[in-house]
Amino acid sequence: MNHSITESLNHSISSSLWGDAWRQLRRNRIAVASFWIIVVYLAMALYGEGVFWYFHWKDMTPPYQQTNLREEYLSPSVFRHPFAVSSVDDPGAVGSPAVDHRGQPAAKSVVARFRTGLRTLAHHPLGTDNLGRDVFQRTVQGARIAFQVGIITSCIAIPIGVILGCLAGYFGGKTDDFIVWLYSTFSSIPDLLFIMAIAMVVGKGLQGVYLGIGLTTWVNLCRLIRGEVMKHKTRPYVQVAHALGLGPFRIMFRHILPNVFHIVIITFSLRFPAAISTEVFMSFLGIGLTTWVNLCRLIRGEVMKHKTRPYVQAAHALGLGPFRIMFRHILPNVFHIVIITFSLRFPAAISTEVFMSFLGIGVQGEPSWGIMISNARLRLWQGVWWEMTFVTAAIFFIVLAFNLLGDALRDALDPRLRTSER
């Protein structure tokens, strides 16, 4: 309503899509908060990634995999009365390093008690699971897998969706017919069934999950982009570009695409929680990560092999630092594995996996949120609530943040899309 006034308000304050969206988002406190939550999770994921790689190169069991049967079923630290006096007296209780074992009993001053209390708080802050593994660390690792899934599936879906959508929308005719047929076919297959079937066929690995989610999400994006491109094709500025004699690809990618690109971003942010949930779902069912096959394992095996080679020894002898050796010397020598893996990914990965687990280097499944839920589920019935609670809270907050940010982005960038996404 009140067209003229709202329109003129819109025109002057907010005709620049990005500029206005940015302004609007910055003012939206919920969106900003969501953004920071996502940043925190991203940091967690990056940290998890770092930890993961570090311990794999060091060839050590990462802390989130360390089992400690003495500390199984440890409840979260705040529930362990960290500041209670008794914890200082009894070194065996709750398994915390509450006492500095130097022979003499710890000083009972308030400061010391406070210090030890703090240390206890920091020790397994969210408790441990049945094998005494730290719930906090595992949750962080779960974030890593979740982000991997979100990002990799987007990397699969976005190029397919964007390119096909552009081509269909722009060229129309037979091209359009074909692409519409393609995506309506894909969208006809119920998502979850399709993802699971793909995952099963491809080999129940993380790749299956990536591929499954990636291959089903491009459809929606493609449809949206196609519609937008068709709309923009008739816009005057495209006519102008025609009149200037620009070629179709230049018009398509330089003129139209920037104008519809916000859809990609909106779709991405709206799809992210869906991808995470799907991954959680699938790893819960044991389809995702049970046979954990990953590139880094291969690399790790190779690096371990190369570590003992003379050229690395020589590098050591020259006094080169570990990073330089790792990246300048070893990595170029194992990098071909990356390429080979990507081309021969599935058979090679599977066979190497078999080989490596035969040799006993295999690690148990990485802690994804879904696996954690799956493990924690039965323990919940025994009253071990914390593992379940913290994992679900972790999922809740990231999904909530993405939902809210996605909403805000959509409102800021393209309110029309509201009804097209469920």
């Binding site: 005709s15 009149a243 004699g245």
Partner: protein, 336 residues
């Protein structure tokens, strides 16, 4: 030879379900160098399609378009490129015709770059010149379209059209989206540019008053065909076609209204709806609405007839039916 000559042009679109829209239906016209020709009609009469067809932005089914002695419709890719340098277009919607993701400088420069004119520095200089020519601060080149008002955007659109130094410009409703107080600025700018550069305009509009101000000659279009063509003064003084008369009568013009009000007169109103071009009408396309229609009109398509020097009309009845007098051509009514 004229700068632009169009012979019996037909443009048809498929409207699905086997229907066809005859947007342009056998149009012939000519535009001389430095001349500005107005093309007037209501929505859906095919005037914008005609403008687009001249620049080969839509597919033409039949006919010929001659520009500087070359048939535009058979140009090779290379020649078409050259043609686009000679003839350009100004678009109606100043909000939509500029790509919101390109700075105005980049938008103008892109034309030069695509046509490989000058090096980077030279192009930049030329962009500044152009902006100055259309009355904008050259430093605005780095700004994005949303930072401009409607009038300023239309100036940018004009600068872009002029970037390649065309001799012929199709202006498709260049001021209809602008506020009244801004229209005059743009019209004046276009007039000045025409004089300074010897441009020829095909000025597509629905507003007769604007066309009268801008043009030397006027073509009135109805249902895909040109029903009347005349010098601007002749047309306004003695419109020959009933449709033109109705149009003139319908325009709410301040002075005319005030005069009519003082005299207590009522306006002429043509009944009926603007035809959709899908429904092919036998005979004269205007006959269902024409107050003077007779049997002949319902069966036979009228030819173009000369009603005065340089004044043609597509009506069986040469004279004028209303109270406006005809100064030339003896009355000659064909009865059937």
């Amino acid at each position: 030879m004229s700068l632009l000559e169009i012979n019996n042009l037909h443009v048809r679109f498929s409207a699905g379900h086997g229907h066809e829209v005859r947007a342009v239906n056998g149009v012939s016209l000519a535009v001389e160098r430095g001349e500005s020709v107005g093309l007037v009609g209501e929505s859906g009469c095919g005037k914008s399609t005609l403008g687009n067809a001249i620049l080969r932005l839509v597919r033409v089914q039949a006919g010929a378009i001659w520009f500087e002695d070359k048939n535009v419709l058979t140009l090779t890719h290379r020649d078409l490129f050259h043609y686009r340098r000679r003839s350009q277009m100004i678009f109606q919607d100043p909000y939509g015709s500029l790509n919101p993701r390109l700075s105005v400088g980049a938008a103008i420069e892109e034309c030069l770059a695509v046509h490989r004119l000058g090096d980077r520095a030279e192009r930049k200089r030329r962009v500044r010149d152009l902006l100055q020519t259309v009355g904008l601060d050259p430093d605005y080149a780095a700004r994005y379209p949303h930072e401009f008002s409607g009038g300023q955007r239309q100036r940018v659109g004009i600068a872009r059209a002029l970037a390649l130094n065309p001799v012929f410009v199709v202006a498709d409703e260049p001021v209809s989206a602008l506020d009244v107080s801004v229209q005059a600025q743009i019209l004046n700018l276009m007039k000045d540019l025409q004089q300074a550069r010897g441009l020829a305009y095909l000025f597509v509009a629905h507003d007769l008053a604007v066309v009268r101000y801008m043009c030397d000659r006027i073509l009135v279009m109805y249902a895909g065909a040109i029903v009347e063509a005349a010098e601007v003064d002749a047309l306004f003084a003695c419109p020959a076609h009933p449709y033109t008369q109705a149009l003139l009568s319908a325009v709410p013009d301040v002075e005319k209204e005030l005069r009519a009000r003082a005299a207590g007169a009522r306006r002429e109103i043509v009944e009926g709806e603007v035809p959709t071009v899908t429904s092919a009408v036998a005979g004269c396309s205007f006959h269902p609405r024409c107050p003077y229609a007779r049997d002949l009109c319902r069966t036979q398509l009228p030819d173009e007839r000369e009603v005065g020097p340089g004044h043609t009309s597509r009506c069986h009845f040469r004279s004028n039916h209303a109270n406006i007098e005809v100064s030339h051509a003896p009355e000659e009514i064909i009865n059937t």
